[in-house]
């Protein structure tokens, strides 16, 4: 599931137990997009700063 968990009993947990199990790829992609977005935003800020300096 995208958020939360199906786990209702800790005694039954024998392996992975993280929230978001089954939707790992979606979260991976989202985190990658955030990294790319941060770099794009950073680049825009930097270019604007250089234009101002000129």
């Amino acid at each position: 599931m995208l958020v939360g968990t199906d786990i209702t009993d800790w005694a039954a947990v024998e392996g992975a137990y993280y929230a978001g199990a089954g939707t790992e790829a979606i979260w991976l992609l989202l985190s990658m997009l955030l990294c790319i977005g941060a770099l794009v935003a950073g680049s825009r800020h930097e270019r604007a700063a250089y234009r101002k300096a000129k």
Partner: protein, 462 residues
């Protein structure tokens, strides 16, 4: 009698369970502790590079350090950890003789969408191993950082840091810092403390970037002579270098394999990443001797505390490849040679009109190569792996390995920085460089009381 035997058997089983649990949590804690120790390296880089920058660029230099560290973590999660396990035998992604490599193994152990890469009660090791390697990666990227200060764009630098830290060096580590690595299985390559896979790769990647980046305004005169561009705080730079050295104890601690676990090489003693025996005592002798040799040699060569601290680091880098093998006075000699090489190479780099602001090409690149080759000179003959019939360490294997590390670092550094240059993302405009990067793009000031900034607000007590 039978009841007593049954009780003793149950007690023995409980004792074995408790011992196994203790060993497992101790191993987990061991690698966990390498991580904050390696964070000291980044505290050091932060202080060192801000101190080595002029006051007008101090915070912009610091931003680079923070971003290199921050971006390496997710990108190493996405790609770096997988590369380490997938590519030891080369680009075929086939498994090596030990069997802990190749596509199938990497998908099970390091897939960024797999259950090993998150909270898992059946796996106490992957997270801390990943963390230690991510810190190695951030260190590798940060080695480049200082050389580029005062004229590189932040995003361009961050992209270079990601390429170096999450892709390039870890490929070198797969080849030469893994028991299935082709350099190890074919040539007996030995690089216990990463003289080549971290330092040489980072130093030569930096050289490739510096060629495209160019020198700072005012560094070279029209007749080709160089001007010294002093940083604004030599004490901050020196403290930073000492912090890096403190952090290297964590780095080198992360280079050993803890005993007694399913993934260990054996019980009762630490092993190298190649499965050969090592003790923390052996490492301690030689880290300290390398440190001393490098610092003393740099003092004799330069009488400059900046280069003395760099020499101390260079001494450790010189002996890192064979920390597990050297006789300590031999390590002192090897560290001394590293401390002599470093300032000579730094002068040569400057003569070539390359503005390496902190000497990383000399310190990490060339001294890193020296560390690899020194293993072939002073420790040839040892079996490179524990298996019977394993190749032995040779000068030939170490020289070939050193060349591989230099090329693997230089080519991507040169190519990626050239692409960034063509895209206008490598160097800041001249106007911004002259004005100072803090004033141009940082919303706060490093020293507002001294450089005409807004007056500091007073407390009610004042």
């Amino acid at each position: 009698m039978e009841e007593q035997i049954a009780a003793l058997t149950a007690e023995l089983a409980a004792l074995k369970d408790a011992t196994a649990g203790l060993n497992k949590t101790t191993a987990e804690t061991f690698y966990w502790l390498t991580i904050p120790l390696m964070v000291l390296i980044h505290a050091g880089f932060l202080s060192y590079e801000m101190g080595a920058s002029r006051a007008k660029n101090a915070l912009a230099s610091g931003i680079k350090n923070i971003l290199a560290f921050a971006f390496i973590i997710p990108t190493f999660y996405y790609a770096g950890w997988f590369i380490y396990w997938a590519f030891p035998t080369g680009f075929s992604m086939s498994p090596g003789p030990i069997g802990t490599s190749g596509l199938e193994y990497a998908l099970a152990a390091a897939s960024p969408v797999g259950p090993a890469m998150g909270p898992n009660v059946a796996d106490s090791a992957t997270g801390v191993f990943f963390g230690a390697f991510a810190m190695f990666a951030a260190t590798t990227a940060s080695i480049m950082s200082g050389s580029l200060i005062e004229r590189i764009q932040i995003v361009g630098f961050t992209i270079l840091a990601i390429v170096l830290g999450s892709f390039v060096w870890i490929l070198g580590a797969a080849w030469g810092w893994h028991a299935d690595g082709w350099l190890v299985t074919a040539l007996g390559y030995h690089d216990f403390g990463a003289s080549g896979v971290v330092h040489a790769i980072a130093g030569f990647f930096t050289l490739g970037v510096l060629i495209n980046l160019g020198a700072r305004v005012g560094k070279f005169n029209p007749d080709g002579t160089a001007n010294a561009i002093a940083g604004h705080s030599m004490p901050a730079a020196l403290v930073g270098l000492m912090l890096i050295i403190a952090g290297f104890w964590g780095f080198l601690m992360g280079c050993v394999i803890f005993p007694g676990e399913a993934w260990s090489w054996g019980t009762g003693i630490f092993h190298t990443i190649y499965g050969t025996p090592v003790t923390l005592s052996a490492m301690t002798f030689n880290i300290l001797m390398g440190f001393a040799g490098g610092a003393i040699a740099a003092w004799v060569m330069t009488h400059d505390p900046f280069w003395m601290m760099s020499g101390a680091l260079g001494g450790i880098i010189s002996v890192a490849g064979g920390l597990d093998l050297y006789w300590p006075p031999m390590a002192f000699v090897i560290g001394t040679i590293g401390g002599i090489i470093m300032p000579l190479v730094a002068s040569y780099v400057e003569k070539m009109k390359i503005d390496d602001a902190v000497g990383a090409v000399a310190l990490h690149g060339v001294v890193g190569l020296w560390g690899v080759i020194a293993v072939g000179i002073f420790a040839a003959g040892y079996p490179a792996l524990p298996a019977e019939g394993a190749p032995t360490i040779t000068l030939y294997g170490q020289v070939i390995g050193a060349l591989v590390m230099a090329v693997l670092g230089f080519v991507p550094g040169y190519v990626v920085s050239l692409v960034l240059k063509k895209l206008g993302m490598l160097r800041v405009p001249k106007e911004a460089e002259l004005l100072g990067l803090d004033k141009v793009k940082v919303p706060i000031e490093a020293y507002p009381e001294f450089f005409g900034g807004a007056a500091a607000s007073k407390t009610p007590a004042e």
